[in-house]
């Protein structure tokens, strides 16, 4: 039981990482990026292809990250340029179209079957109080916590963080103030692409790894981001880890194992409906 919960930590950490990216692009660019995990999956499959072409391990991984960052930056710049004046639902619609396009492109380029993903990390296991933690688990958890801490501190304390918030709140004013909007937007999207690539590479070796199923990792990640109200990085991390552990515990119970992916989602929606009972009239209409 405990081991089952612990083995959910790796997917939990990955959901948390993806959730952080979702919150980041939503807060900084006003985009609910449903294509996020598809970008990561695209990069991961590019890495595999390169390896099969005979590239050595490390350059292939680095190239994979480069692909993820580049695709995300192209997406971000297109959003900024063509949909800078659009409302949030329109931008969400664009990300849905991009998701559809990437899913189709991915199945065209990489096929619809699961690929064996090599573990990007050495098979190190750490034993803490009788519970076995894999290197992937430790990295996923540590990365999500560190990135959440960095982002929270940066947005709250640093000059760059303030500039980013200015860009998010009033893009035109920010530009008139001489803030390098384009560079900052690029940086935000590049970060989301890189983190997403890393997250997919962490989980691909231990999960069913079709292009489509990896792309739909965005679903638990959005659930985590919803728990963080698309604002708080910490709550998102907590939500992601919670969802991962809950899924894993459900998967351990044979009677309900088939529903391990959907029960946490239903739980999140129900929790949110109860929590957000107060009528709120905000900018989100």
């Amino acid at each position: 039981m405990i081991q089952a919960g612990v083995s959910g930590l790796v997917s939990g950490g990955v959901y948390a990482l993806l959730g952080i990216c979702l919150v980041l692009t939503y807060r900084m660019a006003g985009v609910l990026n449903l294509a996020l995990a598809a970008v990561g999956a695209f990069a991961a499959f590019a890495m595999i292809e390169l390896q099969e072409e005979g590239w050595p391990y490390l350059p292939a991984v680095l190239a994979g990250f480069a692909v993820g960052g580049a695709v995300a930056v192209v997406l971000g710049l297109a959003m900024n340029r063509w949909f800078g004046e659009s409302d949030t639902p329109t931008r969400a619609g664009v990300s849905i179209a991009v998701l559809v396009g990437l899913l189709a492109l991915g199945s065209r380029l990489f096929g619809g079957d699961a690929r064996p993903f090599p573990a990007i990390l050495p098979d190190v296991k750490v034993r803490i109080a009788g519970v076995v933690l894999t290197a992937a688990t430790l990295i996923a958890l540590a990365a999500s916590v560190v990135i959440a801490a960095l982002l929270t501190a940066m947005l709250g304390r640093t000059r760059t963080g303030h500039q980013l918030r200015a860009v998010a709140a009033r893009p035109v004013t920010a530009e008139l103030l001489g803030i390098p909007v384009r560079q900052l937007t690029t940086a935000v999207w590049a970060a989301s692409g890189l983190v997403s690539t890393g997250a997919v590479l962490l989980i691909a070796p231990v999960q069913s790894s079709q292009f489509s199923s990896l792309s739909l990792l965005v679903l638990p990640a959005t659930a985590a981001a919803l728990l963080g109200a698309f604002r708080s990085f910490w709550l998102t991390v907590a939500g992601g880890i919670g969802i991962g552990v809950l899924s894993s515990l459900i998967g351990d119970n044979e009677r309900i194992a088939a529903f391990s992916n959907i029960i946490p989602f239903v739980v999140v929606v129900v929790v949110l409906c109860v929590v957000q009972r107060r009528e709120v009239w905000d900018a989100a209409r």
């Binding site: 609910l32 449903l34 639902p89 619609g93 179209a97 199945s107 992916n261």
Partner: protein, 615 residues
């Protein structure tokens, strides 16, 4: 700007539609059985597109699980035909549609709490829930090879095509009828702005749930028709990915409109067929749809909308050309001048004259009484123990410099700031605990500075929606003439922003409120029109028996329309009483006008004049 469609223009689009309907009806007579099969599939796919048009296009809620509703319809049909093989096809199909409705309501429930784009996430989750359930339990009969048989005349593919096509037309007509009525108009209002929908007394939850229910019904019909057409329907037809693709296709073609949904249905079927014939893999089709969708979103309209806009422009050009030929110059665009008319008047309450603004003792005729209203945002006190009354027979001006809290006050009174303290009473009864929609239904109506009238509706439809009751045609006309508004058959999208505010005033009055809160109704109006509006506002208490609170920057207008005024500065009432006295008050002059001399006809000159105010 298009004022009135020239006669014959509407006739022409109706004629085009009739010809198209007849053409599609006769189409299968000339088709081989293979193409007939494709044509039927296209019609069925249009149901899904139409359902997305309802929930996403009309109500503005991104739904990514419409094929899950179709799956429920298919499941229900498969189950029914397994256990009751003698049921007529039509009954099976309608049962399939009905079966999807509860699930639509279920999927719509979170939309009541989660706003905006979050609903896209929830529906994507719903799609994956239904995916999992289908993979686990499957559609009845699929594994055992038991097929749904088409009994009776619909066993013939030709008649089955006509059944699908007939049902599609019936749904289109049904949605059109619904769209002209408050139920369907409320969807558009919610998409425009949930706040303004609630301020009209519409139940936002109800609008969202009915949209989801109607969309689920339509999608369920599609799923049911599909399983009856094929006999067996595979789970994969209803998965998350097909739902995502269906959403993009619906956006690309503008499925809010019937022809858009039909284009979308046709494209869904024809695209793979065409690609197959030129030996291009089918997933290229999804990529093309994705690109087309991004393009449509960039343009701000799907294919159907773009075609309609072009047709409407051509009509307008033709109309202008015609009138230019008569008068020698382009048709002048002017508001019709209001003629005084008899408007149905609620009995004015006798003895109302006693009470005045700011009076400490509330009389029975006070429409609105605000007592110790305080609003805090964190440590900032936006409104500090504000008290005043609006008698039923007066127009009270609410003035004050920018940031004084005027709009916050209107928000709090109309129920959009549930955290406020103090008491708001309407006709002597407290409404403090009530939601915005309930306050509106009790008799507090407001307009918004931004002018949030629903662009897709005609002026008349909008007034009926706002009235919340049957509104006779004569009353609509009388209301519009009273405010000097446009003709009732104009589409609001075709009216300039200033005139839309007049429509908003008429819409507020249409509800026969006890008190009407007008937030800068004259912004964007030309001077002579706003003069006319001021005179009309002054008449509202007598004609409609309702008190008015008027927020206005234009001092001429305040002087013309109001008997009394309340002055806010930094969230506090600094003066209240008859307009002339209040405007002469030393504190008001210094706070509001920065020491500027205020003569009889002097004006602060709209928001621009605010720059003289010292902070």
């Amino acid at each position: 700007m298009r004022l009135v469609s020239p006669p014959g223009a509407v006739g022409r689009s109706t004629a085009v539609a009739m010809v198209a309907v007849v053409a599609v009806t006769l189409l299968p007579l000339g088709l081989t059985s293979y193409w007939l099969f494709l044509a039927t599939s296209g019609v069925i796919a249009a149901f899904t597109a139409l359902s997305i048009g309802v929930v996403s296009g009309r109500a503005g809620l991104i739904s990514l699980c419409q094929l899950s509703f179709a799956a429920i319809g298919a499941w229900a049909v498969a189950w029914l035909s397994m256990h009751h093989p003698d049921l007529p096809v039509l009954v099976l199909v309608l049962a399939g549609g009905a079966a999807a409705v509860p699930f639509g309501l279920l999927a719509g429930l979170p939309a009541l709490r989660l706003r905006g784009v979050n609903i896209a996430i929830v529906t994507l989750g719903c799609a994956s829930v239904v995916d999992t359930l289908l993979n686990r339990y499957g559609i009845p009969g699929v594994d055992d090879g038991i097929i749904v048989t088409r009994s009776g005349v619909f066993g013939d593919d030709l008649y089955y095509f006509w059944l699908c096509w007939g049902l599609l037309l019936a749904v289109v007509v049904g949605l059109a009828l619904l769209g002209a009525r408050p139920t369907g108009a409320a969807w558009l209002a919610v998409r425009r702005s949930e706040r303004s929908a609630a301020a009209m007394g519409l139940s936002v939850p109800r609008a969202k749930l009915t949209a989801f229910a109607a969309a689920a019904f339509v999608a369920g019909l599609g799923g049911a028709l599909l399983v009856v057409q094929l006999g067996l329907a595979a789970n994969q037809s209803f998965g998350s990915f097909p739902s995502l693709v269906a959403f993009t296709v619906a956006v690309m073609f503008g499925a809010r409109f019937p022809e858009g949904a039909m284009f979308a249905g046709a494209a869904t079927v024809l695209m793979p067929e065409l690609l197959r014939r030129v030996d291009v893999p089918a997933d290229v089709g999804s990529m093309l749809f994705a690109v087309g969708t991004v393009f449509a979103l960039r343009q701000g309209s799907g294919v159907a909308e773009a075609l309609r806009a072009r047709a409407s422009r051509r009509r307008a050009d033709a109309a202008l050309g015609r009138s230019a030929a008569i008068s020698g110059e382009p048709a002048p665009v002017a508001l019709p001048v209001a003629v005084p008319v008899a408007v149905p008047v609620e009995a004015t309450r006798p003895g109302a004259r006693r009470a005045a603004a700011g009076s400490a003792r509330p009389g029975p005729a006070d429409a609105l009484e605000v007592r110790d209203l305080t609003v805090r945002y964190g440590s900032v006190v936006a409104l500090d123990a504000v008290s005043f009354t609006v008698p039923a027979d007066r127009v009270i001006g609410l003035i004050g410099p920018n940031g004084a809290g005027k709009s916050t006050l209107v928000d709090a009174v109309s129920g959009f700031l549930p955290g406020h303290t103090g008491d708001v009473r309407l006709g002597g009864r407290s409404v403090t605990g009530l939601s915005a929609a309930k306050r509106a239904r009790t008799g507090i109506r407001r307009t918004f500075q931004q002018g949030l009238a629903v662009p897709e509706l005609t002026v008349g439809q909008y007034l009926r929606l706002a009235a919340g009751r049957a509104l006779p045609r004569a009353e609509v006309r009388a209301l519009l003439e009273f405010v000097g508004g446009p003709p009732s058959d104009l589409v609001i999208a075709d009216i300039d922003v200033g005139t839309r505010r007049l429509v908003d005033v008429a819409a507020g009055l249409a509800a026969r409120p006890r008190v009407l809160l007008l937030d800068e109704p004259a912004a964007g109006l030309p001077a002579d029109t706003s003069e006319l509006l001021a005179a009309r506002i002054a008449e509202i208490p007598v004609r409609f028996g309702c008190g008015v609170l008027l927020i206005e920057h234009d001092m001429t207008m305040v002087q013309a329309a109001c008997s009394d005024a309340v002055v806010l500065d930094f969230g506090k009432v600094i003066a209240a009483g008859p307009v002339e006295e209040v405007l002469a008050h030393a504190d008001v002059v210094s706070a509001y006008l920065g020491g500027q001399q205020l003569g009889g006809g002097a004006e602060a000159g709209g928001p621009g004049g605010q720059q003289v105010v010292a902070v």
